[in-house]
Subunit: 272 residues, 2 copies
DNA sequence: CTAATAGTGTCTATTAGACAGTATGTT
DNA sequence: AACATACTGTCTAATAGACACTATTAG
């Protein structure tokens, strides 16, 4: 044996174990507005996610989450930042690690383990158009009885559908294992990443302030409430919503007018 | 370019990117009782964690979390199960993924990314003594002002101390980045794993039933309350605790007697 | 009896849910 | 005026916090 760590390291052969590749995948979530034909009605909010069309094998021509290999000299947490910068050309985006997926067959090329991240962004920060092979897809999520979730993504031209079965990993916890039942055109195990992220967002919107990462500087409480509603998938009662949100927002003296109905005050985020 | 996925894969060289090694680390948490000298008093509960003494470089003779390399042909989630079986010789232990740490210099040998897991276990299930180079350490956690956490681990013979500074990653979230300020003898970045796990446990005990993975089949409400108190780090009021826990437990007709005071009913876990 | 924990009753404070009502812009 | 949303008042229901009280054993 060796007598010192130094000596050990000098003789260590890092190729004793077969190595593997590591990637990161990023679920970039934002909210978008769908215009209505009635001039009085406010635009309907939707959640949307940024997908990239693969221009090479494997999964050529399928859509997938932005991602890439972790460089051997790169901090794990730096990889998603680098990719976010590449895809959106902005820094300082809210980012949090979701989960690490490591099935043996998740990539047909070789053994790849992938850490997924969730990024939240206000679309108004995206000054320039995103590059050609990427597109925002509106999300509609339908949770059926038997723990089967139907997700439909649409960018107006193409529609992606998949169906996932959730099974409790253990009766004592809130963790599910996901099984993809149907999937017409999304690559890798990205349906799992999308569902994990949407559930994480739905949970955290209730006890953190992360929603404000998806909001512009100034917003009305009606808009904010709509974002909550689309993320939680249910209607909220106005007075209750305003009671709770009052602690997290400050009223400005600016108003939003010209909407075909009573103007509303603009608010901004107040951190504690 | 290639004309089919098949053709692409045939020509793919997986060594175009420099590969790396992947490990898993497992934080195995349990509760133990510390005997008191007063025959009337109930034993004091403590959280404890299983550590292994490294018998080789790097970090020779330092304590660390059980762990190991992920095999090239092994599902990521199978690796912690294999190691748990090796360390405790029991199957079916509660296990959940915590976080993936990937600093460049976390292992002096080479680039290693590590996914950490948390396992919860009832010590009574450990029939045989654990093997010689591993030991249970009682945890005492002290959260100081300025977001500095002091953790002391002790197995009765040796004491391990470290101090971690928590810094909010972002004002909108509940996620912290951890920085190790002092550390006398625990290997790798395992202080971070331990703190992540303890915080995860503290959060989840409030809204899931995971605590019952650390309890024997039958337990008194007093014992259960003590476990809650040691995990949450604060005293709870009896009536409030019983109101909440009533939904998760069933009273059996067995009693625990001989404790120097009024006997108490034994309860068991009721899942919904 | 005493020390110690087991277990309950009840008041109060806080928060969530529900609904109805008033307010005010645009067309 | 009509419509749509903005915003508020207030009642009720549910839950959490606090405290005091009774119950029961081993020694």
């Amino acid at each position: 044996m060796y007598n010192s760590e130094e000596e050990f390291l000098k003789n260590y052969n890092p190729d004793d174990f077969e190595k593997l590749s590591m990637t990161v995948d990023i679920l970039i979530i934002s909210v978008s507005s769908e215009e209505t034909d009635n001039y009085r009605k406010t635009d309907k909010k939707k959640m949307s996610v940024l997908l990239v069309k693969r221009d090479n094998y494997p999964f050529k021509d399928k859509w997938c989450l932005p991602g890439g290999f972790v460089d051997i000299n790169e901090e794990l947490d730096e990889a998603p930042k680098r990719i976010l910068k590449r895809e959106t050309n902005i820094d300082n985006i809210y980012l949090e690690q979701l989960y690490t997926f490591g099935s043996i067959k998740r990539d047909p090329r070789m053994r790849v383990i992938s850490t997924s991240y969730m990024a939240l962004i206000d679309k108004n920060r995206l000054k320039q158009t995103i590059n050609g092979n990427s597109s925002w897809f509106d999300i509609s999520l339908l949770e059926e009885k038997n723990n089967i979730v139907d997700i439909v993504l649409s960018n107006g031209i193409e529609t992606i559908k998949f169906k996932i079965e959730k099974k409790l990993k253990d009766k004592t916890t809130d963790r599910y294992s996901f099984k993809v039942l149907e999937n017409n055109s999304i690559a890798f195990d990205h349906p799992l990443v999308i569902l994990s992220g949407l559930e994480r967002l739905r949970n955290k919107i209730e006890y953190t302030d992360i929603v404000f990462n998806m909001m512009p500087e100034l917003f009305t409480l009606g808009e904010l409430q709509q974002v909550y509603e689309v993320i939680l998938g249910k209607k909220l009662l106005d007075p209750a919503f305003r009671r709770i949100i009052a602690k997290k927002t400050i009223k400005t003296n600016k108003m939003k007018t010209g909407e075909g109905h009573r103007p509303s005050s603009l608010f901004k985020y107040k951190s504690n």
